[in-house]
Symmetry: C2
Subunit: 392 residues, 2 copies
């Protein structure tokens, strides 16, 4: 019997027994195998209504979620499946695959970044007094929330959009005996409401949602919203402040990691059009490099106040050495509070934040003692830094 | 007027003037803005039939392709759009975004890997005699095809699935004056037919589709197929052979990049469940590390012959030093031909292939002089290496 008539036969049977799980799953299986995912979905929903613990139904629902790009939904279904049937190896394989897609490996470098952990814990200890209520945006593993709870916070409400991280953090917090002090919420912080999701506005807001280029985890949007709605007037924000610092960079080996010119006598420079990312995260200590200028401050971000969505800055920079400038290196000076500061300065830092670079299309030769004009523009989620006039 | 009635009004107008581009694009714009992409698609198709050079239509078609996850289709439409209207900045921004999603930055490190380029060119020069027809699987930038053309090949047929790479390679080959010697095909090599897409079977097959773990670019599948169907019996394959080499690895700093244990007094080890990738690509020279054994050969891949899809290997390894074993490091010994060999051995190599590692869940202390059993399994697209009995 061909697929088409088999599917028709099962649909006929369903008319007689609309809630028969076996028929439903047989039909769903065939529809999914034929790639007819959208037709399968109503039957999957019906099967889940009948029995949300049926292994075949959960598996089919996760397959349909994957086919339609709903990775977090697929993960949730698979977690439930292996909770019910721990030896389902296909489900475990899919979970591993989804974790690889959804979880960035930098989490580990960050959690093992002892300097970061120390400055944040010092700032948290200084800010947490008895009775203090804490809200955190971006739970991650739960580490900073646990630090706040250990420091004596009345209660910590921590918000995590990723279901995988939310689920892991809940388990980690329980393992460390702090479940009664910490509530983990699985949503965007912009969806949290005081009075519904958290009882009162917080005294302390923790938002370690800084990427290597400061703005790349949307801190402007989420912190402005959370400070306005979830923090008491005059409440404390950790981190307090960050400065994006830059310097003119000479590094031929870095250029060769992101640009190609002549290779084996062939001109491959047209290939460069395929990779024009404005900001590239690198660990400069892996490369031979020289800074051609003193560090300069590009933008200062005061997290206690409303962050601007856009702004510009222009300044002139003096060359400290002769050299070929390949681009502009940038890093973070981070104030957890006014006394606890770290800086991901190239070569002097092992910070997981590393550095970011903007590479010029063409290197430019510069002379010690000369001045160049730098022009910086901040958008809500990134910063551009250019020589002015721009270097082609 | 609300969106719903505006959409209804435009649909009425279309009944009178079904081929009016302005009405079509107004309707498409509103449907896309409402997230009703699937309803918009038939109208987009109709608008493209009427005028495939209309800027608004091309833009809408690219938006719909993006919404439905068809990134390559979106890119193709946007290339056409900026060809017709070079100053369309939104389209250029989207192209930049899509390149960032579709093009891996390792291409640059690979193209600037002078040792790789030299051994491949030497093997190509030795294999190309007058009259030789070449087929290449995986064009990339076109570099190896240009080497074959320069060496005197009669003609080179090179096959690239990625539209972005195909498009760039065609331009690069033209820039280097070799368009009359090289034909670039934009499809999977498994879709190429002799007699239809290429005139004859080739004398030489080039397939530099090796990832850092050898199999991760599906070389087993694509090379077996291309050797069978596109190469003359007895034809040459470049590269000729690769050996996956391994060694027992001690590296606390590497472990801390991919695993977390106790941090600031909290037990975070449950976080490790979120990242269980079997093979991690690293540049070991970035880490403090020690190899605890002599290198051992895990699997030998003879590209001249049909590659097995699965196999196993077991052997014992002698410890050369006391140490804490955190996992198994692996690298490639690559024979472009029998005389031109390179090896991405940690610390001794600057190869872009770097190394891969498998990290044990728990480190294990081992004594110099003792023997451990190693068990390796090859699947079509990856290799697992474990201590036997497995280290938990």
């Amino acid at each position: 019997m061909n697929q088409e008539s088999e599917i028709a036969r099962l649909q006929e049977q369903l008319k007689v027994n609309p809630n028969d799980s076996k028929i439903l799953n047989a039909l769903i299986f065939r529809l999914l195998r034929e790639g007819r995912t959208s037709e399968a979905i109503p039957f999957i929903d019906r099967a889940l209504d009948i029995d949300a613990t049926d292994i075949a139904t959960l598996w089919h629902a996760s397959v349909a979620a994957l086919h339609t790009g709903q990775l977090e939904k697929a993960l949730k279904l698979l977690y439930e499946l292996v909770r019910l049937k721990p030896d389902h190896h296909e489900a475990r394989d899919k979970i591993r695959f989804l974790h690889g897609r959804l979880i960035e490996p930098w989490h580990f470098a960050m959690l093992n970044d002892h300097e970061r952990n120390a400055v944040f814990e010092a700032a948290i200890k200084a800010a947490v007094k008895p009775g203090v209520v804490v809200v955190e945006v971006g739970t991650g593993s739960g580490l900073l929330s646990m630090m706040a709870a250990r420091a004596g916070a009345e209660h910590v409400y921590t918000i995590e959009k990723s279901f995988a991280l939310y689920n892991a953090a809940k388990q980690i917090i329980e393992r460390n005996g702090l479940s009664n002090k910490i509530t983990v919420l699985n949503c965007w912080s912009s969806g949290v409401q005081v009075g519904r999701d958290i009882p009162v506005k917080a005294d302390l807001l923790i938002a370690e949602i800084l990427g290597s280029a400061i703005l790349d985890e949307q801190i402007v949007h989420f912190l402005n919203d959370a400070r306005d709605r979830l923090l008491k007037p005059g409440g404390i924000v950790i981190p307090q402040r960050a400065v994006l610092v830059g310097a003119l960079l000479e590094s031929k080996s870095l250029r060769e990691r992101f640009r190609v010119d002549t290779v084996s006598g062939f001109n491959l420079s047209l290939f460069n059009a395929l990779y024009q990312q404005p900001s590239l995260q690198v660990d400069l200590s892996q490369f031979d490099f020289k800074l051609l200028s003193q560090p300069f401050e590009i933008f200062d971000f005061d997290f206690q106040k409303t962050l601007p969505s856009t702004r510009e800055n222009r300044f002139s920079v003096k060359l400290e050495a002769d050299g070929v400038c390949h681009g502009i290196a940038r890093w973070i000076r981070l104030f957890a509070d006014s006394s606890h500061v770290m800086e991901s300065k190239p070569q002097y830092s092992r910070s997981h934040w590393q550095q970011t670079v903007e590479i010029f299309e063409e290197p430019v030769s510069l002379r010690s003692g000369s001045q160049v004009e730098v022009r910086a523009a901040q958008l809500p989620d990134r910063v551009f830094v250019r020589l002015s006039p721009p270097v082609k």
